[in-house]
Symmetry: C2
Subunit: 214 residues, 2 copies
């Protein structure tokens, strides 16, 4: 999966960042994107790799009031980097669109194939074995409990994923496959969502609770 | 698994604490202990439940220089609570021994069956589905990366579990089954360690690396 621009894009992401959005996240998103693109019509591989690595150039804390602006700020701050990498204006615009549209909270529909692939590839990184690690790391960083000790699967209380990591499986993660923009993305997301469901079943067993039917 | 003392012991743990050592951790350790005790000679169930809930009464950060003292401090601070619960001196001593000996860093060998069970039960909570959640939550809380993006399974570098969460699987978690004090604890630990190995295989697959043979 080597690309001539990859080393320079990774270098941009080596500054201080949280563990969910470091260069390794860029690597995984790009890897997912290549796997999806292999099944699709031809894409602009320069736009694809630049958007994969720079989509989280600006990250704001989960609880920041202006969090919805992060993807626009990332697109803005990507411009000098993209110029430096010798992209022309059309490729810069296309990369910016993919960066902005990847985010849930930006509420911008991806209209190019590259933007659709980047959005899918990024969401897939919230699923599977890597998604499990990320959801618990975020929860630990915010010093939130992993689950409600009394009612871990919210059978007798409202879901609350701003408090409990496990609630986030129901509120967001397991819904990701239905938001996929591409067929290959949907297939990959579904198999990675199954990893989370298998995990919930094991967790329920260890806690002595019935497994949730999420 | 209701015990007359359980509600009062849980109430002691409702203060501010990290998500790996809250009342739910006490519940799980007690649940593991009951499962191990069911296979063993009769135990003092009051000592067992008190040590399960109070073993982490004092927790110090992972990087605190006096971390080895935490289990002794827990045993000291447990005394007024145990008196309040009407335990006599022999039960208080036995509970204190189990609390002190549960810890790796205290370097005190557990000599009673209750202390052996508590040590096993606590270590088992670092394995399985719940152990996965805990290792990544701790890593996130310390703002450490989940793994080395270049070499996630340390094939060409020394292991370093003070930096990478995944290295902790090799350095500590997967070695826990061989430290078990009881037969039932060893069986439970081995099946929970297998959950971690299965996880590593899935993670390797997602990252495009060969699975480690840990």
């Amino acid at each position: 999966m080597r690309h001539p621009l990859q080393a320079r894009l990774r270098a941009v992401l080596t500054g201080p960042t949280d563990s969910a959005h470091d260069a390794a996240h860029g690597d995984r998103v790009y890897r997912n994107a290549l796997s999806i693109a292999a099944d699709a019509e031809p894409v602009d591989d320069v736009v694809l790799i630049c958007a994969c690595y720079l989509h989280d150039l600006v990250t704001l804390p989960k609880n920041a009031p202006n969090r919805a602006e992060a993807s626009r700020l990332s697109a803005e701050q990507a411009v000098p980097i993209l110029r430096d990498l010798q992209l022309g204006e059309p490729q810069i615009y296309a990369t910016q669109h993919a960066i902005i549209a990847h985010s849930f909270s930006a509420k911008v529909e991806p209209v190019t194939l590259e933007a659709k692939i980047v959005q899918d590839a990024d969401r897939i990184d919230s699923l599977g074995a890597i998604g499990l690690a990320r959801v618990f790391a975020v929860s630990g960083a915010l010093n939130r409990p992993l689950f409600d000790g009394e009612d871990p699967f919210a059978q007798a209380r409202p879901f609350d994923d701003s408090t409990y990591a496990i609630d986030h499986f129901h509120e967001k993660l397991l819904r990701l496959p239905e938001t996929m923009q591409t067929q290959a993305g949907k297939a990959l997301a579904s198999s990675r969502a199954q990893v989370l469901r298998d995990y919930l079943r094991m967790l329920a067993d260890e806690l002595g609770h019935a497994a949730p039917d999420w």
